[in-house]
């Protein structure tokens, strides 16, 4: 009614309009009247669960931050730079420097190894293998993505670690002079082994997402390139990879998120120490998740809060990485028109 009275420019159509609007609204209300409670309850329930998910995310951040603030308040060292984890002594001294270093380094190794290989396998499945073989392979890789991480951990500790000695000796002989690949003694339970194991674990994840993206490359792009006389590799370089670039990036970041937060595989393989080693082959170091799993059993109240504080840091890092990956995917969806 307000709009009709204010609308002075078009006097003629005003009389019929409010009438018809009122009748349709009336009818609509009448038609919907009987069903409204059910609809309202259902809408409330489903919207409620959506909100519940948001509340959980907020609660995770809030509770972790709350316990973390308690721990950091008691910390005698600097939480970011101290290279110790002594939570059970009276003024507790702990910091995440070693953990941050180990987490970043092992994840970088994992990414450097896994991304090229995963892209290769994805290309193999989509463009090189016979169609039948590709289908079976994709299926197998799907299943491998489902293998629990503790099984990877057990395999890593009991099968991979003994097999790493050869590689470590070789690296030490030929690249020991760099300092990064110096191997003194001890079982090869080092950050490099962890990185390799993580690479194997995230391989199926990255492969699966990249494969989906490569499969969506418009057929026309490829056929156009082929028609111009391009070889298969040139087709891939000119049409498949440019199209799939953002997809591969986000796939890699999803893999990175996995690698950053991986707990059990690292906890079984690494022999943790609270030191930063210059050499990747020296046993020792630690990651956020591994430290939580291995220190939790003997932790006191303060110790648990300190572990929660380190978990908060991990949470924030993975949140950023995953958020960035999702943003890239979302942006790609918008401009390429290919809906994943």
């Amino acid at each position: 009614m307000d709009t009709t009275t204010q609308n002075t420019e078009q006097p003629p159509p005003t009389p019929p309009e409010p009438a018809s609007a009122a009748t349709t609204a009336e009818e609509g209300r009448a038609a919907r009247g009987a069903t409204r409670p059910g609809d309202r309850v259902f809408l409330g329930l489903s919207r409620g669960s959506g909100i519940f998910l948001l509340v959980i995310m907020a609660a995770i951040a809030a509770f972790l931050a709350y316990r973390a603030s308690i721990a950091i308040g008691k910390d005698e060292g600097n939480f970011l730079t101290t290279m110790e984890w002594n939570t059970n002594v009276d003024p507790p001294v702990f910091g995440i420097a070693v953990l941050a270093f180990g987490t970043v380094i092992s994840s970088i190794i994992a990414m450097a190894l896994a991304v090229p290989v995963a892209v290769g396998i994805a290309l193999f499945i989509t463009h090189y293998s016979p169609r039948r073989v590709g289908g079976v392979l994709a299926y197998v890789i799907d299943l491998l993505a489902a293998v629990p991480s503790i099984v990877y951990g057990l395999w890593g500790a009991l099968v991979l670690v003994p097999h790493m000695e050869g590689l470590f000796g070789w690296l030490d002989t030929y690249f020991g002079w760099t300092g990064v690949f110096e191997w003194q003694e001890g079982a090869p339970r080092s950050l490099l082994t962890v990185g390799i194991l993580l690479a194997i674990m995230i391989l199926p994840v990255i492969t699966n997402v990249s494969r989906e993206v490569f499969r969506q490359v418009p057929r026309m792009h490829e056929e156009a390139a082929l028609a111009l006389g391009a070889t298969r590799w040139e087709v891939i370089r000119m049409s498949v990879l440019p199209f799939g670039r953002s997809g591969v990036i986000s796939a890699s970041m999803l893999g990175l998120g996995r690698a950053l937060g991986e707990t059990m595989a690292v906890a079984t393989v690494l022999s943790p120490t609270f030191k930063i080693h210059a050499s990747l082959l020296d046993p020792g170091g630690g990651t956020f998740a591994q430290n939580i799993a291995s220190k939790f059993g003997e932790a006191t109240e303060t110790g648990r809060d300190a572990l929660i504080a380190s978990g908060l840091v991990l949470f924030v890092i993975t949140l950023l990485v995953n958020g960035a990956a999702r943003m890239i995917i979302a942006r790609r969806k918008e401009y390429s028109g290919a809906n994943a």
Binding site: I56, I60, L64, V117, A146, L158, I200, W233, T318, L319
Partner: protein
């Protein structure tokens, strides 16, 4: 036809290519090159006194790639050579990845069958020391089933309803926020979910370690997966079905319950089973919240329980060096993989059987 005789003399002066394509290597050449580089690598190994098969394999791979490039560049030209190198690199990638993954499955099966029998599945670890042989995983299987079951009961309604909200009602800022955070939530490390339940349920609410605490964390991990897969499935339901139902005067909520959900129930079940398979193998939250025990505890709401992934970790970690414990860990790992794989296969079977045609 009439012009055909005239160009004949000019054609005779220029050498006619027999085909339009350039020279090609015969089809068997990659195999010959692969064989040749293998033999060469073994010979090199004999000369340089190396007997590590991995090392020899790597040398063979490098020789193969270089050889392919050389031969192809001479016969077919640089562009074709690059193409062949790319092909062989892709093959190398594939083989490189297959080796560890095959080894993982092979070792688990080989070591796992040693102690895996009915006794192992039907007995707990009560009064069996970690260094002794014997004992079993009955208590762990029981714990895992209860924890995963409870987590499913908590997560599935929330997940499915959220997906319904996103697909059927969701518009505007709230829906966008939910979509984004569901995506981000998929990437939460399992240990962080464990820490959250620890700080909330155990430290703040002062509940004890129990199977239920573990299932809360597992539910948090499961919800976003269920939302994602259910959402995809609901989007596949044709709009015509909804419109037909609404046109008959059926209220929206009944349309969703009686038309939309039944149409997509196959896909939703598949998604849920895949999510269940995923959380069945989660160890970290269970380690923090369920604590583990050697005895049978059928009550998930009080006192520590065992769980299959946790059992593997504890057998490995608490008794390093003793073969009996390792054997049990492998056998439990084989059981766990079998459970997860069966869930996966059944889920995919349902997907194929119920797929919208």
């Amino acid at each position: 036809m009439s012009t055909a005789p005239t160009p004949a003399p000019t054609r005779a002066t220029v050498p006619t290519p027999r085909t339009l394509r350039g020279a090609r290597l015969p089809k068997w050449s990659p195999w010959a090159l692969a064989g040749g580089s293998l033999v060469l690598a073994v010979l090199l190994g004999l000369v340089a006194d190396m007997d590590n098969p991995a090392q020899l394999g790597l040398i063979a791979a490098v020789l193969f790639v270089l050889g392919t490039y050389g031969v192809a560049a001479r016969v077919e030209g640089r562009r074709q050579a690059k193409d062949r190198v790319a092909t062989s690199l892709v093959w190398v990638c594939f083989l490189l990845a297959v080796i560890p993954l095959a080894s993982l499955l092979w070792e688990t099966v080989r070591q796992g069958v040693k102690v895996l029998d009915f006794y192992f599945l039907s007995h707990s670890m009560g009064v069996v020391a970690d260094t002794e042989t014997g004992g079993g995983i009955y208590h762990a299987i029981l714990g895992t089933l209860e924890q995963v079951g409870l987590a499913t009961v908590v997560a599935v309604p929330v997940g499915v309803l959220t997906a319904v909200y996103l697909v059927e009602y969701g518009r505007g800022r709230l829906a966008k926020a939910v979509t984004f955070f569901v995506d981000v939530m998929t990437g939460i490390p399992s240990i962080v979910a464990g820490l959250f339940v620890l700080s909330f349920w155990i430290l703040v609410l002062d509940m004890g370690y129990s199977g239920f605490a573990g299932s809360l964390a597992l539910a948090i991990l499961m919800m976003p997966i269920v939302v994602r897969s259910t959402e995809e499935m609901l989007k596949l339901v044709p709009n015509e079905l909804r419109e037909a139902s609404l046109a008959l005067g059926v209220p929206k909520w009944r349309t969703i319950l009686k038309v939309v959900l039944p149409t997509s129930i196959g896909g939703i079940t598949t998604g849920i089973m895949l999510a269940v398979a995923r959380i069945t193998g989660e160890t970290a939250p269970v380690l923090l919240l369920v604590w583990g025990t050697n005895f049978i505890n059928t009550n998930p709401f009080a006192d520590p329980q065992a769980s299959l992934p946790l059992y593997i970790y504890q057998q490995y970690a608490n008794s390093a060096g003793y073969g009996a414990a390792y054997d049990r860990a492998w056998a439990a790992a084989l059981t766990l993989i079998a459970i997860v794989m069966i869930l996966n296969l059944v889920a995919r079977g349902i997907a194929r059987w119920k797929s919208p045609r």
